[in-house]
């Protein structure tokens, strides 16, 4: 039973960066904007978080820096794609390529640096309660924060007026504009929120999950997060479930090694990507469901004539 609790804890820890990145992208996409730059924003968030944590010795300042860096990079995307009406697919790709280059450049000084990361919480008396303790009270603070973020996004999108407006902008920017809502401003905010979340996802990797900086350390998680939003048919709770599913798949490689399975590590490392492809194919097969759930204006630039 203890092992099972351990496995749950590890799965939550591995799924958390996907929760952050995919929830952020979900909100961005709900406003009708497709930002394919998640991988780049995560990497820049990771390197910024690590650099600040290493300089100030305070990992929490690092987390803030990661969020700010992710948001800053997403602002570049917003200017290009929203104000200058560039192709969102191309701009998102550019953002990822730029983020990969920028993080590699900035990160060079930090490659062999060791920092004190954010440790899991330890509540004396509670965290040690065998099963319940490990299940409920012994995770990283950022894991709890990701659950809070999930609740916040769910509540915001479906229980608040502002969330309704955001979704309306994503469904029909022309109508929202005609009623008098500031479509561009709302989309800017949604993109910035997505950027901050991606930065937070990167920061989690660099200062909590594995407190170190390695070039390209997100290893495609940004792209998996993008796929997750599609799997989840743009529903927050399904994003959460999908993120933990993929967290579990990521763990499979370590589990197989622990069990002594004689499979080359490279094949196990392929699993998350192959699983992403498989699930994407299964979910997308039903084109009507995707079309019904996807924000209707997703990826289309909006230019208010006059």
């Amino acid at each position: 039973m203890d092992q099972l609790a351990q496995l749950v804890a590890l799965t939550l820890a591995a799924g958390t960066p996907l929760v952050y990145a995919a929830l952020g992208e979900l909100v961005t996409e709900k406003s009708g904007v497709l930002n394919l730059g998640v991988e780049g924003m995560m990497l820049v968030g990771a390197v910024a978080a690590f650099a600040v944590a290493a300089t100030t010795q305070n990992p929490w300042l690092g987390v803030l820096a990661g969020m700010a860096a992710g948001a800053a990079l997403s602002a570049v995307f917003a200017v290009l794609a929203l104000t200058l009406l560039s192709n969102q697919v191309a701009t998102g790709l550019a953002l990822s390529l730029f983020g990969i280059g920028l993080s590699a450049f900035v990160g060079l000084e930090y490659v062999a640096v060791v920092i004190e990361g954010i440790p899991p919480v330890a509540i004396s008396g509670l965290s040690d309660l065998t099963l319940v303790g490990t299940l409920l009270f012994a995770h990283n603070p950022l894991v709890y924060l990701s659950l809070a973020l999930f609740a916040l996004v769910q509540w915001f999108l479906y229980r608040t007026r502002a969330g309704l407006v955001l979704r309306a902008v994503g469904e029909s920017p022309q109508s929202a504009h005609a009623i008098g809502y500031p479509v561009l401003a709302i989309r800017y905010l949604a993109v910035l929120f997505g950027g901050a979340c991606a930065g937070l996802a990167g920061a989690y990797l660099a200062v909590a999950y594995t407190p170190l900086w390695v070039e390209g350390m997100t290893a495609g998680r940004g792209w998996i997060a993008l796929a997750l939003v599609v799997f989840a048919t743009w529903k927050p709770w399904r994003v959460l479930a999908g993120a933990y599913l993929f967290g579990g798949v990521t763990l499979a490689q370590f589990q197989a090694q622990a069990l002594g399975l004689d499979v080359p590590s490279q094949f196990l490392s392929m699993l998350p990507y192959l699983a992403t492809i498989a699930v994407l194919a299964i979910i997308s097969r039903d084109a009507a469901t995707i079309r019904l759930n996807a924000p209707a204006s997703l990826g289309k630039p909006f230019h208010a004539a006059a």
């Binding site: 730029f98 920028l102 450049f105 060079l108 490279q266 492809i277």
Partner: protein, 364 residues
């Protein structure tokens, strides 16, 4: 005074060709600022980055050597992009092409047939096509997004190559380094010029660029792909098969990337190793856009991108700057291009203050 954008009645051709020049110029300005910010003398840094690498014949040959895979891959990608088929997994198709062609070289390691190299190139093209066929199949059969599938397959291909050179294909005499045996002469390109690494791969690349031009501009299938990209609804109405468009776009891109992969293995590298490609598959995406998805533009853009690679290496040697600066410049270039592209479809107008009369010319 406020500027606002006004939609042009039709895209401006002039702006279309000016945008890459504006982007290149703006990237240079950013480079100037960046070098200054890093405490380098910007003029000297510029010379080291953009002039020194191509100051002699060897430098020029290296420029052409690195431009070859870029123009090759970008030509294939551009065909797809014109039809709104977003293959961004060229890096994976490149690696699988190299695996297929390189596998042939290793299987016939002692052969000295002049047919070996052409066979490797064919195998590379098939390998790249096979890898690109996966997103094509999943898109046409299961409606799965080809951007995500082709990208996921890059990681799979990277691990596949890593496994091969760590395991079954590792050179037994390679001191345990993860690399294959060196290819023999029959499986490698001979240099075109004595004392350089430039090889016949450039000619293949130029040939493919020319073929790509003929296909896109002169063939019916190419025309149909352009229509599918510009006006999907019209294409549908005209009975142009969107499945065929997706298959053509992805297979073309895969074949080009696969050939580029073999040519790296059979050219400058001479064996299979994990670091076979310095991200050519991704850089080629930028080349395709900066080159306006047009063959001539792609050749010019590939030279520019190649110069950024060489400049990064030179900056590392001469200025003690990390070569990662290359990626930074590549991304910046694409950003500026996308920003400048707004002028293709819109013109800048100074917004009139509210309430002031409309210009006479407009009223008349």
């Amino acid at each position: 005074m406020r500027l606002r954008l006004e939609a042009r009645p039709e895209p401006s051709r002039v702006a279309g060709w000016l945008a890459p020049l504006i982007a290149a110029a703006a990237t240079l300005v950013v480079g100037f600022v960046l070098f200054s910010a890093l405490g380098k003398d910007p003029v000297q840094a510029f010379r080291a980055f953009f002039l020194k690498p191509v100051a002699d014949l060897y430098g020029v040959s290296e420029l052409l050597l690195k431009a070859s895979p870029l123009m090759l891959i970008a030509t294939g990608l551009a065909a797809g992009y014109r039809a709104n088929v977003w293959n961004i997994g060229a890096e994976g198709q490149l690696l699988v092409g190299a695996i297929a062609g390189g596998g042939l070289a290793l299987a016939f390691h002692d052969a000295d047939s002049p047919l070996l190299l052409p066979a490797m190139i064919a195998a590379g093209a098939l390998g790249g096509m096979a890898w690109a066929a996966i997103p094509a199949f999943l898109r046409t059969r299961f409606n799965a997004n080809e951007i995500l599938v082709s990208l996921m397959l890059v990681y799979v291909a990277t691990h596949l190559l890593s496994w091969l050179v760590h395991g079954p294909w590792r050179d037994p005499e390679g001191f345990n380094f993860p690399q294959s045996k060196l290819f023999h002469a029959a499986a490698t390109y001979a240099p075109l010029l004595e004392g350089t690494r430039l090889n016949g791969g450039l000619l293949v690349a130029l040939g493919v660029v020319a073929l790509g031009y003929l296909f896109m501009q002169k063939s019916l299938a190419g025309f149909q792909m352009r229509v599918a990209g510009l006006a999907p609804a019209a294409a549908n109405y005209a009975g142009i098969s969107s499945r065929r468009t997706v298959w053509l776009g992805l297979l073309g891109g895969g074949a080009c990337a696969g050939i580029a992969g073999v040519q790296e293995a059979a050219g400058p590298v001479g064996q299979l190793l994990p670091s076979l490609s310095p991200g050519y598959g991704f850089a080629a995406i930028i080349v395709a856009f900066v080159g306006r998805l047009h063959p001539l533009g792609i050749v010019l853009a590939s030279l520019l991108m190649s110069l950024l690679y060489l400049g990064g290496e030179s900056a590392q040697l001469n200025l003690a700057l990390p070569s990662a600066v290359t990626g930074l410049f590549q991304g910046t270039l694409l950003f500026f291009l996308l920003a400048a592209d707004v002028l293709v479809h819109y013109r800048l107008r100074v917004a009139r203050p509210a309430g002031s009369p409309a210009p006479v010319a407009r009223a008349a």
